[in-house]
């Protein structure tokens, strides 16, 4: 089946409405950023400590927040994960004034969780939050006392198996009943009894901890910005080399526009920007360039055959010719990105959100931002030429401006 056999839409006639929409979106984004007092940086760029904690039941956000706020200085944020794939998980964030507090804060957060939800007085080991070494040390003597003969190596293997079982999905670090361990090789009923005696099951599990000192945060921020700027510059150079400089400029402005709108959307939807989001932004810059190049390539090819036609007609023709490819590719890439967004999990959430927005914006910007810029410039250049003097009779102004005709493309 073919969706777009021989279309002939006049795309560029709609450039103004789309440019208008772009401007509105950009402004909305910028306003949102200003209203929020800047971009929402994730811990990568802001510095601080974030602990991901999984609960056995829907986590009581307010209780956690007030318990933390009592013991830890500075802003404490507790957020539920919006991602459908992670249930009952929260991200607890605290601020870090300076690096020396890194260790202190981490311990403090763990202590508060323990005090609020665990059983610190019971003298037992918190099974859901213990490490291999801790569990092995705890179980060694009691197991020996119950007459379960075990060499140290066997003990280590048993502990390792038990904890691997605990950590695999769907338990993902939390078990609610020791009897769940019955299926693990080597776990007999006497082992379970010892476990019940020596350990308790806290209703939470600390999944991961990220602490970033403010120095590192600031450094990463600088690098992210530099990376983006250099990438854009690199592409400008490449396209200016392969086409004309105005095409390069048009493409870069379109990419810039995509980035601004996407970042604005992050601000509007209150999402954090961290290093993976920057990775997504750079990818989408590359992707948007792709799109633009495909159209420019076609324009260049068509210009050779359609010298007499106005640039706008040639551009329209080129867009129509590549329409099928554009829809297919964008559609397919979009499908994979949506898959990432829905099933990719909380870690990639920001990343996939950026890509989802970015692909939509990137696709339309190639047609409605990049091409019009080139069009405007050429029309302007033509008008100037007409004003400054009679155009040379031989070659129409347009052909003269397309300097770099590819020598290899047409065989």
């Amino acid at each position: 089946m073919e969706l777009f056999k021989s279309t002939n839409f006049d795309f560029l006639r709609w450039k103004w409405p789309f440019i208008g929409a772009s401007l509105v979106l950009s402004v909305a984004g910028i306003v949102s950023i200003l209203l929020h007092g800047g971009l929402r940086y994730g811990i990568d760029f802001k510095g601080g400590a974030v602990m991901t904690v999984k609960f056995a039941y829907p986590p009581p956000i307010d209780k956690i927040r007030s318990a933390m706020a009592q013991k830890i200085k500075g802003d404490v944020s507790v957020q539920n994960f919006t991602d459908p794939a992670s249930v009952n998980q929260v991200a607890i964030g605290t601020e870090l004034e300076e690096e020396r507090l890194l260790n202190v804060n981490r311990q403090a957060m763990a202590d508060v969780l323990n005090a609020t939800f665990g059983q610190p007085q019971s003298g037992k080991l918190d099974f859901n939050n213990s490490s291999r070494a801790q569990l092995a040390d705890r179980l060694r003597d009691p197991l020996a006392r119950t007459g379960v003969p075990m060499s140290d190596q066997q003990l280590q293997k048993l502990v390792s198996d038990i904890l691997s079982f605990r950590d695999t999905p769907p338990r993902s670090g939390l078990i609610t009943d020791f009897n769940q361990l019955a299926g693990v090789p080597g776990v007999t009923s006497s082992v379970i009894n010892v476990l019940k005696q020596e350990c308790y099951l806290a209703p939470f599990h600390i999944g991961d901890v990220a602490m970033v000192g403010p120095k590192v945060g600031a450094e990463l921020r600088t690098r992210a910005i530099l990376a983006t700027l250099y990438a854009l510059a690199g592409m400008l150079a490449y396209i200016a080399f392969r086409f004309e400089w105005i095409y390069g400029l048009g493409a870069v402005i379109a990419c810039f526009h995509d980035t601004i709108i996407t970042v604005g959307l992050f601000s509007i939807f209150n999402k954090d920007i961290d290093m993976t989001v920057i990775a997504a932004l750079l990818t989408l810059v590359g992707y948007s360039m792709n799109d633009t190049i495909v159209i420019f390539d076609r324009i260049r090819e068509d210009l050779k055959f359609m010298r007499r036609d106005p640039l706008e007609t040639v551009m329209n023709r080129a867009v129509n010719q590549t329409l099928s490819r554009t829809v297919m590719t964008s559609g397919l890439t979009f499908l994979t990105v949506i898959a990432l967004f829905i099933w990719g999990g909380p870690v990639l959430h920001g990343f996939s959100f950026a890509l989802v927005c970015g692909i939509i914006v990137g696709t339309y910007s190639s047609v409605f931002v990049a091409s019009p810029i080139v069009l405007f410039w050429h029309n302007y250049a033509d008008t100037r030429k007409k004003r400054t003097g009679p155009a040379p009779a031989v070659a129409p102004a347009r052909a003269a401006t397309v300097r770099k005709s590819p020598t290899r493309a047409a065989k």
Binding site: M1, E2, S6, E99, R100, L102, N103, R106, S131, R132, Q134, L163, R166, D167, P169, S172, H205, G207, D208, V209, A210, M211, V212, G213, V216, R223, L226, A227, Y230, G234, Y238, R242, M275, T276, I278, A279, L282, T283, M289, N290, V294, D297, T322, R325, M328, T329, L332, T333, L335, T336, V337, A339, I342, G345, L348, P406, R408, A409, A410, K411
Partner: protein, 539 residues
């Protein structure tokens, strides 16, 4: 045409075999397959679980320690030469940035002894620059090149010491390395896959269970039993019996009863050097941290005449009698030879961190979260792949199979590259793979659409296919180059997982050029060569 296809097919087949081998080897059983897979495709910290720590070496500590040793020496030398002085002090740079400002001030050298003082400094303290403050006071600053060397050495030793300490954990893969701009930043990166207790690791790094200086209660004894027997069969409270490393003299074993709690441990030790005392006998100078110095001063002041032991790895390397109160720098004298002094210095140094460390960054991913992430990454990947394959087959019919084969080959090449480069697969890396699926399809789409166009323009099947590939080729190159440029910058400026993403995307794109242009073309050629004249193409 026939030979062309055969040659190309062979190339493709060889490529596939090499890749598959890289991923799973030649397994003889399902278990071996799994094992090979796990060995070859290394998971990054965020998928396997583990810790990543960035610390900054406080080089100013090392610089101060060196100054302390020099001050001690200087005092002895001046005494020897009968040069009097009122005070010798150093300043106290607190931050890494201030380390270069280290300065020793010597006050009160009588004007008559100026030349003697100057020649002493010139002769024995060549790496310090002497400036005159006034007729009796002088300032000494370290030569810049020596400062740079000292700082660099400090970072290197820290890296080594941390590496040694972490070795005790018995981790299969760990890495400790210098990080950042070593000239300026003095950072160390520690990556510990599979560690589930980062607090324990940080303790281990921060202290040395390795070096201890403690009080000797009794000894030497011939054997452990003799030592215990000498105390009525029961060890005194809070002590342990340790053996002394034999010192090449064949004196037989020597055991001592040592206090269990050491006064000084490795983290208090800053530096140690072999040297010679006023009688040209060998000794080892050592310097301690401020804290350690206080404790040591208290202890030695109260125990003049008693002995202390230097214990490394629960073995005594030296027993010395306390001559006088020692604070933060002291000497272990009366050693047998240069070698002994050197060895002792080495022991003291290896068990010690030359400077304090401050943690700049810590990321620990629990194995549980890592497993979740893998799960989610794969789910998304499979979903995306199914969607793409379905659409390609539906829209391009049999030529769609072409594209699907190319996609699968793409994935195999990608995984093989990850395996051969020993790159670690991170969650963004998996995202990169998923993205590659979407983008790889673009090349095929470009080619197919072009072929369709040529067919519509009335060209013959063979000609249409040829033209389609040719015309699309340049565009494919253009689009891939721009994304690769983008990834290159991401690689340069990013770190950790983000780099993993850049790498997988680039490899995916490069593989894609190969599969979309070379492999797809070969498959088409094969199809076309079969029939005499294909009237239509299923596309």
């Amino acid at each position: 045409m026939q030979k062309n296809i055969t040659a190309r097919s062979v190339i493709i087949l060889v490529a596939i075999l090499v890749c598959v081998f890289g991923i799973i080897g030649f397994p003889k059983s399902a278990a071996e397959l799994k094992q090979n897979w796990e060995n070859n495709i290394r998971l990054g910290l965020d998928l396997k679980g583990g810790s990543r720590l960035v610390l900054q070496v406080q080089v100013q500590d090392a610089v101060k320690g060196e100054a302390d040793i020099v001050i001690n020496r200087l005092k002895d030398d001046l005494k020897k030469e009968n040069i009097t002085w009122t005070s010798i002090d150093r300043n106290d740079p607190q931050r890494v940035e201030d380390a270069d400002s280290i300065q020793i001030t010597v006050k009160g050298v009588p004007a008559t002894q100026t030349s003697a003082f100057r020649s002493l400094i010139n002769e024995r303290y060549g790496d310090w620059v002497l400036t005159t403050v006034n007729s009796t006071d002088y300032a000494m600053r370290m030569k810049p090149s020596d400062l740079v060397n000292l700082k660099r050495d400090t970072v290197e030793r820290t890296v080594q010491t941390i590496g040694n300490r972490i070795d005790q954990l018995g981790l299969a893969e760990k890495s400790v390395q210098q990080y950042g701009n070593a000239g300026d930043q003095y950072q160390v990166l520690v990556q510990l896959p599979g560690v589930d207790d980062p607090a324990h690791v940080k303790e281990l790094i921060g202290t040395a269970a390795v070096l201890e200086i403690g009080e000797v209660k009794d000894g030497p004894f011939q054997s452990r039993e003799a030592a215990i027997a000498a105390h009525g069969g029961v060890l005194p409270l809070n002590t342990k019996v340790l053996k002394m490393l034999p010192r090449g003299g064949g004196e037989g074993e020597q055991w001592y009863i040592v206090n269990r709690s050491p006064i000084i441990s490795g983290r208090d030790m800053r530096n140690a050097r072999a040297g010679q005392d006023e009688y040209r006998k060998w000794e080892t100078d050592f310097s301690l941290s401020q804290d350690g110095g206080k404790r040591f001063g208290n202890f030695t002041g109260a125990h003049v005449g008693d002995r202390l032991s230097v214990v490394l790895d629960q073995n005594i390397v030296s027993v010395a009698t306390i001559q006088s109160k020692i604070e933060d720098s002291g000497r272990i004298t009366n050693l047998g030879s240069a070698e002994e002094a050197d060895d002792l210095a080495k022991y003291l140094r290896s068990g010690s961190l030359p400077a304090g460390v401050v943690y700049l960054e810590e990321r620990s991913v629990g194995a549980s979260l890592g497993a979740d992430s893998i799960h989610q990454g794969f789910a998304a990947g499979i979903a995306g792949l199914i969607a793409v394959v379905a659409v390609m087959l539906f829209y391009y019919k049999r030529s769609g199979i072409n594209a699907v084969l190319a996609l699968i080959l793409n994935a195999i090449i990608l995984l093989a590259a990850v395996s051969y480069f020993h790159a670690a697969l991170t969650l963004p890396g998996i995202a990169g793979i998923i993205l590659t699926i979407g983008m790889a399809v673009d090349s095929n789409v470009l080619i197919f659409e072009r072929i369709r166009e040529e067919l519509r323009a009335g060209k013959s099947v063979v000609s249409a296919v040829d033209t389609g590939f040719d015309k699309a080729f340049l565009t494919i190159v253009d689009t891939h180059v721009t994304t690769i440029v983008s990834c290159a910058f991401l690689f340069l400026f990013g770190e950790g997982p983000v780099r993993g993403f850049a790498v997988t995307l680039v490899i995916g794109l490069l593989a894609n050029v190969f599969t979309a242009v070379f492999v797809s073309r070969t498959i088409f050629s094969y199809e076309l060569s079969g029939h005499r004249r294909m009237e239509t193409l299923s596309i």
